[in-house]
Homo-oligomer: 180 residues x 2
Amino acid sequence: MTNFEEKTTNTTPIYSGRVISLSVDDVVLPNGKPSKRELVKHPGAVAVIAITQDHKIVLVEQYRKALERTLVEIPAGKIEQGEDPKETAFRELEEETGYTASDLHFVQSFATSPGFADEIIHIYVAQGLKKVTENRQLDEDEFVEIHECSLAEAEKWIQDEKIYDAKTAFAIQWWRLHRF
Amino acid sequence: MTNFEEKTTNTTPIYSGRVISLSVDDVVLPNGKPSKRELVKHPGAVAVIAITQDHKIVLVEQYRKALERTLVEIPAGKIEQGEDPKETAFRELEEETGYTASDLHFVQSFATSPGFADEIIHIYVAQGLKKVTENRQLDEDEFVEIHECSLAEAEKWIQDEKIYDAKTAFAIQWWRLHRF
């Protein structure tokens, strides 16, 4: 493995917001030449593959302003400061869907957009899923609709591009590979 | 399907760079309350699942400044202005790996980080893969090392987190589901 490290010589902070921050780094490339890298910082996120007793996956539909459309996704959310990712996953699952899990098993973590962002998403699968409430506790800027889909329905929604994000595309494939 | 649309009342441009741009939108939530959305624009990208005649996947290792580490990923790249995604995929495959394909079949598209970015990645699978050159034509700020891995090796690299990005996690699962 070659060392391709790019050393930062200067960081210019551009923006620091509620969810993300942006800086532009001056870097030295492995060949000694200078370049610039535009870097988005994000606190990281979790997502939960939640399959009900009758073999349906719990999905949330919400408006995604960045794409100007609604998407159907697995339950997910940002890691709050100081929060353990698994704790976030338990919290987001219950807040967004009204389901709790007896346990969450870690599946995999991955960077969503390594070319420009440091966001890592940690995927869990729910064990012992149970509906606890119809009264979901959403964030004040969060409006979601719950769907419960069979694997065939979810794969149809991928075809139709109703499901259209990386973590959910991963999750549906994972489900097909690990049907239980 | 409920209408959760968030209408923009004002857009504040923050930054416009080489790869991404950032704006903050004032929006009206479905309940009529105001909120803000931090939105990253990206031109979109392609990635190629390239399996050799001897059942190995072609991967590129490169330094990812946003994560301050190297990652092993499927060949990928940004769509240039006016370029058809399939054309980008042919170009990036040859530039990054020295392989050409007789054809590229579309697999799936997905948004990588719908919470804050509009980046869409289009995944293709290469047909009739052939090594054409040892002299790859990389961008001037691009330094990559090629690996060719069996499915078992690639899955080990996921365990070891050498493979650690969404598109490649998706691609390795896809390969396991569609072994040919």
